[in-house]
Amino acid sequence: MVGATALSLEGLVAVDADVVRLRRGDLNALSELITRYQNRLYRYLLRLVRQPAEAEDLFQQTWLKVVEKIRSFDASRNFDAWLFTLARNLAIDHLRRIRPQSLDEPLADSWHSETVADRIPCKDDTPLDHALAAERRTEMSEAMAELPMMYREVLTLRFEDEMKIEEIAQVTAVPVSTAKSRLRRSLEQLRYALEARHPGGTWQ
């Protein structure tokens, strides 16, 4: 699957080359960048706003902003972090305008409207594993959707994008120590929510 986790070293080098071409107005470079980041960026936005249609619109707006600001982007900086920061700011502005309360509170139904067909299945060993895995997955997704936005964000950046803590701190515009404690608290709250569904045991 294209670009589901943070880029490898060769991926990063290719991105830098594309960024240089993009500054000169090369459409192919833009196309390659959008394709390379399509899954990661969409996933991040979806975790933040929890509505697929809004996430798609924000996806387009992010790339429009990238085109607008690419000239003032210092090519030696990390393009990943910059892109995600732009996306984050747009998402937060959007949420503040449309649903200011959702920045902290859980959203009732939207998460379940994603159909199973929308997801890329993971490799699992046996049909039983498959069924258990599906159940675990649903539980995990539901629990995560109910966390406050700040926690969802740091969890998705760490586990789904596999960003380093320093990068996460850069994207969320907080010091590294705050990012670490946020990650810890988000994990604790997630575990608390999961174990609440299976009282009396740890979540397996």
Binding site: M1, Y42, W63, L64, R191
Partner: protein
């Protein structure tokens, strides 16, 4: 806070691979001797691994194309504007050079043919000495006349075109 408590706080982050190497060593050492922390660490691992294996949601199939169409249009528009700005600078510089270069050309031409006009436009008639210098020779008249004519014609053309352009835009 005792060391045990400190390590307990780091366990979740340990499962998330978010610790520095020094902290990891600390945790590894402590976990070897402390059963409670070891169990706790093992309790965190399935959560971390499941989070890592969350399926990636897929956007609509045409999202990339639609984004490329809109962002690409903006990119080409910006590239156009930058290119136009460069062209403008070059053309304006060229226009100035043309104006300045026309002066020696005029000097050259009037120098050769000015003698034909001498009887009518002698220096004494136009160029009364001012501080001992003749200011108005036929060459300078030609310079100024040509440059002024150029600016006047350009100004008139600009005004006419702007009026026409505005009229057209209003109808559209």
């Amino acid at each position: 806070m005792s060391e045990h408590d400190k390590i307990r706080e780091l366990l979740a982050l340990a499962a998330a691979d978010a610790l520095t190497s020094a902290e990891e060593r600390q945790v590894a050492e402590h976990v070897r001797s402390c059963i409670a922390c070891s169990n706790e660490l093992e309790a965190w691992r399935p959560i971390a691994s499941e989070l890592r294996r969350l399926p990636t949601p897929q956007p609509s199939p045409w999202l990339v194309q639609a984004t490329l169409a809109r962002a690409g249009a903006k990119l080409t528009e910006q590239a156009e504007r930058d290119w136009n700005r460069h062209v403008m600078i070059v053309v304006v510089a060229f226009a100035w050079l043309l104006t300045i270069a026309s002066w020696p050309v005029f000097h050259f031409v009037t120098g050769r043919f000015g003698s034909w006009l001498e009887p009518q436009f002698s220096h004494t008639q136009f160029g009364q000495t001012l501080l001992g210098r003749t200011w108005f020779s036929n060459t300078w008249i030609s310079f100024t006349a040509f440059t002024a004519l150029g600016w006047l014609a350009g100004g008139v053309a600009a005004v006419m075109l702007t009026i026409r352009q505005r009229g057209e835009r209003r109808l559209a």
